[in-house]
């Protein structure tokens, strides 16, 4: 028997693929990382300092091209005239939904994946989250608890660098924090007023964010230029390009192959093992195989499910593609503050405030289970406020520098329950540019999420009222479109029973022991916290388990 080409294959080079690459290579495995998209060279591809006047459309984007090539991707919060190159081309990468149930599937194909364009907010889960399904009889129980993942949160946070403020909240555990970013004057005021009114029942803290505030592992602190989604030449925010892939490279055991689209896994039914992957070269469309002893799927939740479905493996439970979750958003409120007219902010803080979940923590809400957190911030208007202002001439020009009053907004991110009918299946006829069957996605909010969304308006207004805001305006937006928060997860869930889950408590396929799925697909519930930190911690944990198993020859 010929030895495999590599010890390990990692499919995807983003948030979790980068972590798998780092951990597996550092543990001694010769590792092949397959990335569907192009390579990234920071010195050429990072454009965060390009001024507006050097963009053909001054930041408004190439509207006509976007309408044709990226009508879905353009809905992402960090999509802009320059960062649009970090999202896929919708025409090349089609998928379908029922006409009355849109789903935004945001996708990134380049080395670094979505870790280049993520929102960088990182929050730990607690047993309030890991025990929730069991406690409430929802879906299946998580096979792990906070104690299982806590050391891996430490491990990940120490490496990526997280700035934040310790608050001592049991349900939003503190982490390994670098110094926090500053609240501005109005946020400090609101923080104090909320504390006076609500005590520790509702807390406003600075966002916990994977942007450095001090030098960290050779990466420079943030210089507050603003558009992180365009790259970061100082490597001040965490991405796999900025941190994990260089660490993997340094071991000498990494082989990174861009333009490599994984069509399916090669399965040895006699031994119930995957032996390799079938790869299509994105440029030449030629196909070839690579073999390895262990395979990690880190291609993003829906893409990993698609690979499993196209391979016909690891799905004896029938749960692959099911239980799609996202976070519901667009509920909240804004208000205006008198005072501080002699104060302003300088620089672009890539972070806002966070109000950790306070619903269904110590009391029981009559209308819904689970909860939501708020993100947001305070500021003064810039020249944009003058775009529709009346007047012309010197009077109009004077308005350009009129900062106006301070205002503050809160926007909620709400938990979504796992439901089997929220599901991705292989489309019977639709294929992508490379002939690979694409997905049909059916996903909608349930009444629980909609009740959460309604409550966001009420409590955001309460927070602003407590802080003395005027002209408080609850959000008039309806719920966001599922997928629109870019937190899709759940399509190959972990569990305790092979009959009802795809993965065990180590992100390991029940059916195929040398196959691991460690991206968002593995999530058994969604929490309301931004999920990337948990994906990364699960990935590092699974890598160490896999290598131990390999050493014991149990894979």
């Amino acid at each position: 028997m010929t030895p495999p080409d590599f010890d390990a294959i990692v499919v995807g080079s983003g948030m979790t693929g980068g972590w798998a690459a780092k951990e597996l290579t550092e543990l001694g495995l010769r590792t092949l990382v397959l990335e569907a998209g192009r390579p990234i060279v920071p010195e050429q591809d990072y454009v965060e300092h390009r001024p507006l006047w050097e963009m053909p459309f001054r930041g408004l984007g190439d509207r006509r091209a976007v309408a044709v090539r990226q009508p879905v991707q353009s809905h992402s919060a960090s999509f802009d005239e320059l960062s649009h190159v970090f999202w896929t081309d919708d025409a090349d990468n089609p998928y379908s939904t029922p006409p009355d149930r849109p789903f935004f599937w945001f996708r990134a194909r380049q080395v670094g994946g979505k870790s280049i364009i993520w929102g960088r907010q990182v929050y730990r889960w607690s047993d309030l989250d890991f025990e929730a399904n069991l406690r409430e009889g929802i879906a299946v129980d998580w096979p792990i608890r906070y104690a299982d993942i806590a050391p891996w949160y430490d491990h990940v946070e120490r490496f990526i660098g997280v700035s934040g403020q310790a608050e001592g909240l049991a349900h939003l555990p503190d982490g390994q924090f670098l110094p926090p970013m500053a609240l501005n004057c109005v946020e400090q005021h609101v923080q104090q007023q909320i504390a006076d009114r609500f005590g520790r029942a509702r807390v406003l803290t600075i966002g916990r964010v994977a942007n450095l505030t001090v030098q960290h592992h050779g990466r420079a602190p943030c210089h507050y230029c603003g558009p992180c989604q365009r790259g970061c030449i100082t490597r001040s925010y965490f991405s796999s390009v900025n941190a994990t892939l260089p660490a993997a490279q340094a071991t000498g055991r990494l082989t990174l192959r861009p333009f490599s689209i994984v069509r399916s896994l090669v399965y040895d039914a006699a031994n119930t093992r995957v032996t390799g992957v079938r790869v299509i070269d994105a440029n030449t469309k030629t196909e070839r195989e690579y073999s390895a002893r262990v395979i990690f799927l880190c291609a993003s939740a829906l893409e990993s499910a698609r690979i499993l479905l196209n391979s016909g493996v690891a799905n004896s439970s029938g749960q692959v593609g099911r239980n799609i979750m996202d976070h519901i958003k667009w509920g909240g409120a804004s208000g205006v503050f008198d005072g501080w007219t002699d104060r302003r902010t300088i620089g672009e803080r890539p972070n806002g405030i966070y109000v950790p979940r306070f619903r269904n923590v110590t009391s029981r809400h009559p209308d819904f289970i689970r909860g939501y957190g708020f993100q947001g911030g305070a500021g003064r208007a810039g020249w944009q406020a003058a775009l529709h202002a009346p007047g012309i001439g010197p009077a109009l020009k004077a308005r350009l520098t009129d900062l106006g009053p301070w205002s503050m907004s809160f926007g909620g991110f709400g938990e979504m329950l796992p439901r089997e009918e929220n599901r991705a299946t292989l489309h019977p006829t639709l294929v992508d540019r490379w002939g690979i069957p694409s997905l049909h996605i059916e996903c909608k909010w349930s009444e629980n999420e909609l009740a959460i969304h309604r409550d966001m308006n009420v409590t955001a207004a309460e927070l602003l009222e407590a802080a003395g805001a005027k002209h408080i305006e609850p959000s008039t937006s309806g719920p966001s479109t599922p997928g629109g928060t870019n937190h899709e997860m759940g399509t190959a869930r972990m569990g305790r029973d092979p009959k009802t889950s795809v993965l065990n408590g180590w992100n390991q396929s029940w059916d195929v022991p040398n196959l691991f799925v460690t991206d968002g697909a593995a999530m058994t519930s969604s929490g309301c916290q931004n999920p990337s930190l948990t994906y990364m911690a699960l990935t590092a944990r699974a890598c160490h388990y896999a290598v131990e198993q390999l050493k014991r020859r149990e894979l």
Binding site: N184, Y224, C225, I233, T345, G347, I392, G393
Partner: protein, 162 residues
């Protein structure tokens, strides 16, 4: 890296794209939308709406947006409405808008601004002209430097004096 050194390095990297892309972006669209007369009308109107617009090349920006960004319907509405300036100029001072004395140009634009602002619609051709003028100025190098938006601070102060 020391902060001073970092900032020097950032300034250096920020300058690179300027050399590579600056010239191209300031060029006119290959197939401009605005005829010579209309461009002159737009440029003069933009300067009266927002003093400094000419130095900021707002006319070129508006032409670029009309040519490559707006829909055919939006462009037609804008170009169809613009001759109203000449009509009002001739009624007021017997000349095309761009040839009117400055005081008459300002009077024509002020009246239009009052009418359109009172109507509260952003779809009107004059609202679009004003929007593009303000946006074009505030995103130009001249405008961003004048407004103190460039160069960037490269630090954060959440409670700085105005």
């Amino acid at each position: 890296m020391e902060r001073r050194e970092l900032i020097r390095w950032l300034a250096a990297t920020a300058g690179l794209p300027s050399l590579a892309f600056g010239r191209e972006v300031h060029r006119r669209p290959l197939r401009p939308t605005l005829s010579a007369h209309v461009e002159r009308t737009v440029t003069v109107a933009a300067e009266r709406i927002l003093p400094g617009a000419t130095e900021a090349n707002v006319g070129v920006f508006i032409d670029k947006m009309l040519t490559d960004w707006h829909t055919p319907e939006e462009r037609a509405r804008f170009l169809g409405g613009l001759p109203e300036l000449d009509v009002r100029g001739r009624a007021r001072a017997g000349r095309d808008f761009a040839d009117c004395p400055e005081a008459d140009q300002v009077a024509v634009l002020s009246t239009l601004d009052e009418e359109v602002s009172a109507a509260g619609t952003n779809d009107h051709w004059f609202a679009r002209l004003k929007y593009l003028t303000v946006y074009g100025y505030c995103t130009s190098e001249v405008g961003m430097r004048a407004l103190g938006l460039w160069p960037q601070a490269w630090r954060y102060d959440g409670c700085a004096p105005v």
